[in-house]
Amino acid sequence: MTQTPHHTDVREFHPRARAAIADPKIRKNFRKAMDGLITKRKDAFEGWDLEALRDLGANIRLRALANLPDLLEQLEKKLSENGVKVHWAIDGDEACRIIRDICVARNAKTVIKGKSMVTEEMELNHYLDDHDIEALESDLGEYIVQLAGETPSHIIMPAIHKNTGEISELMHEKTGTDLSSDVEYLTASARHQLREKFMNADVGVSGVNFAVAETGTLCLVENEGNGRMTTTVPQCHIAVTGIEKVVGKLEDVAPLLALLTRSATGQHITTYFNMISGPRKPEELDGPEEVHLVLVDNGRSSIYQDDELLDTLRCIRCGACMNHCPVYTRVGGHTYGTTYPGPIGKILMPHLIGLDEGRHLPTASSLCGACGEVCPVKIPIPDLLVRLRQESVDGDKLNPAKVRGHGAKRGTLEAMVWKGWSWMHARPGVYRLGTKVASRLRRLQPGNLGGWTRYRTAPKLAARTLHERMKERSQ
C-alpha cells in the first residue's frame, strides 16, 4: 500500500501558490466544491437563530477550555470505569509509540483507520509502515488520497482536489477497477475492496469529534459507516484525539453537533452519530474487546497559555472557514503544505510547527473576514491572523512575541528601514528636510518596488510636501 508522504516544506508556500493558481484544474475542482458547500450551509441554518446557536457553541467550548485539566481527569476516570484504557502523549512521536506498543502487545499486523486529522498531524501511517504494520484508510476520500500517495487537501473532504476522471484512473491503476465515470460503480468497488480489510484488520484506529467527560463517551460523526466498521469489527479499537476535544456534559454535544454538520456540509445531521462508552461487555456478541483512548498534546498546552491564541482550541474542525476562504478556494489545500489548511491552518499551524517554518501562513489571507463570520464557534480568525503577523516580525512593545519562531519574517533591511523611519519621525526638523528632499528628487524614484509593484503600480511622491502646501495656504 502506498503510504501518505511526509509533509512538504511549509516554507515553499509562494511557489506552490503560483503553481496552483496557474493550474485551471485545481481552481475548477475547488471552486465548484466550495461554491456548493457555501449554499448548502446557508440553507441548512434556515429557520435557526444562528447567532444564538453560535454563541451557545462558543460558550460551551470556552467553558470546557476553562475547566480543561479537570475535565480531562474526569474523562479519564469515567472512561477507566467504563473499561477504556487512557494514554497521554506529549507529542506526535509519543502518540505513535503508544499506538505501536498496543499493536505489538496484540501481535497486530494490520490497522484499519477511520478519518482522523490528529493522526495526520503525527504522520501515524508512516510511523506504522516503518514498523511493519500496515495502516489502511477506510474513509473513501482518505482511501483515494492514500492510493495517490498524497495528503488530504481538506479536513472534511480529503480528496476534493480530484475530479471523477482522475479518481477513476487512480483506482484503475492501483486496484484494477474498470475505467468509469460512474461514481456508484467506483464507490461500490471501494466498498468491496474494503469489506475484506475490515474483517481481517487486527486493530481499528479512529479520531474523536467530542469526548464527553460526564459520561466517558467518545463521539464520532460520519456518513459512510466506515467509522462504525473501524470501531466495531476489529478486536481492538484505538481512538486518538487532541486534548482540546473534551466537553463537560453530554448535553453539550447536541448544539455542537447541530453546528458541526450544518457548517461542514450543510447536513442537518450526518448518517451516523456514533457514541462509544466502552468495550464490549461479556454478554455482548460484537464490538471490540479492548478500547483505548490516546490523548495528544502536541503543542496544545502551550497554545493554552496565551489568552488570545487559546481561541484556536475552540475549533470543532468543521472546515467552514476553508470553504468560505477566497485564498483557499483559489490555491487549494495542498498549497499550504500543512496538516490543517486554510484559515484554521493559518492560525493553528504556526503554534504546532513554529513561525520560522510557518512564517508565510498568517500572510496568506486577504483579511476579508469571511472565516470569522462563518465559524460556528466564533473564533476571531482575522484578529488572530493579525496577531500572528505581528509575531512573525517580532511583535511590538505592547505585545511582546510569544509564539515559537517569532521574528522569522523580520528582514534586516526591513528592520533598518523601519528603525530609520521612526527615528526620522521623532525629529521634526529632519522629517521636514527628508520629505522635502524626497519630493524634489521624485523623478529618480524607481518604478520597480519589488513585491509591491509585481501586482500594483508604484505610488508617486507629490511635487510638494503636505507641510509646504499647508504653509502656502495659511499665507
Binding site: 473532504m157 464507490t187 466498521m229 442537518h268 448518517t271 456514533n274 466502552g278 455482548e284 456478541l285 489568552d307
Partner: protein, 217 residues
C-alpha cells in the same frame, strides 16, 4: 514526571491565569410542542430527503407490509432479534411469505464471514427517533448487536410513533442518558452514503444501501 502529569500541570498552571466560564443558554434549541402526527410527518420528510424510506404501519399491519418490502427486494433472509417482541412476533406469525429468519445468538467471530457475505436484511427495534433531523436512536444490546444495523445491505428499523422526540437535546434529556450510557449508542439518519468523489452522492458505501423505517402508529 510522566506525560500525563506534565500535560495536566501545564494546563492547571496556565500562565494567563484562570479563565472565565461563560453561562450557556440552551434555550435556542427549544422548539414549540407538536403533536405525534406532526412529528411523524417531519421525521418522514427529513429522512426521505436523505434517501431513507418510511412505511406507516399499525400493530396489525407491519408484518404483512414487511413481507411485501422484503419480497420486492428479493431478500433471501432476514436477521431478527431473538428475545425482542419484534423477533418473537415474526417467528410466531406463521407466515410462509417471509424469507428465512436468522438469529444473531453467538459471538460474531464464529460467523463473521456469513454475516458479511450472506445476510441480505436485518430488522431492529429503536429507542425512539428525532423528528428535526430524521434520526433513529439505537442502543445495541446482546439481543440486537451493533453489527445488525451496519453490515446487511438492507436495514429495517421499527419506530413507535410515540417515541419520536422533536430534538436530539430533548431525547437525551427526557430519556436521562447522562445517568448511564451503553457501550455503544447511535443516531442513524439514512442509509450509508458518501460524497467523496466530486461531491456526487452515492449510497451504501460501507454500511446499508437501504434504510427502511416502519413507523408504528
Amino acid at each position: 514526571m510522566n506525560s500525563r502529569d506534565i500535560i495536566l500541570q501545564r494546563l492547571s498552571e496556565r500562565s494567563g491565569g484562570k479563565l472565565h466560564q461563560p453561562e450557556c443558554d440552551f434555550s435556542v434549541l427549544e422548539r414549540p410542542s407538536s403533536s405525534v402526527t406532526e412529528r411523524v410527518e417531519q421525521f418522514q420528510k427529513i429522512i426521505e430527503s436523505v434517501h431513507g424510506e418510511v412505511h406507516r404501519c399499525t400493530p396489525e399491519s407491519w408484518i404483512p407490509q414487511l413481507s411485501g418490502i422484503l419480497s420486492s427486494r428479493g431478500a433471501r433472509n432476514l436477521l431478527i432479534p431473538a428475545a425482542h417482541q419484534i423477533g418473537r412476533a415474526l417467528r410466531d406469525s406463521g407466515r410462509d411469505d417471509l424469507p428465512e429468519l436468522l438469529i444473531y445468538d453467538e459471538p460474531v467471530t464464529s460467523w463473521q464471514a456469513h454475516l458479511f457475505n450472506e445476510v441480505d436484511a436485518s430488522i431492529t427495534s429503536t429507542r425512539g427517533g428525532i423528528a428535526e433531523t430524521g434520526s433513529l436512536i439505537l442502543w445495541p444490546t446482546p439481543d440486537e448487536p451493533r453489527l445488525m444495523s451496519l453490515v446487511p445491505p438492507i436495514h429495517i428499523a421499527v419506530l413507535e410513533a410515540s417515541g419520536l422526540y422533536t430534538t436530539f437535546h430533548e431525547a437525551m434529556r427526557v430519556q436521562n442518558w447522562k445517568s448511564g450510557m451503553p457501550t455503544n449508542a447511535l443516531l442513524i439518519s439514512g442509509p450509508s452514503k458518501t460524497a467523496d468523489i466530486e461531491q456526487t452522492l452515492a449510497y451504501g458505501v460501507h454500511g446499508p444501501k437501504e434504510l427502511i423505517v416502519l413507523v408504528i402508529e
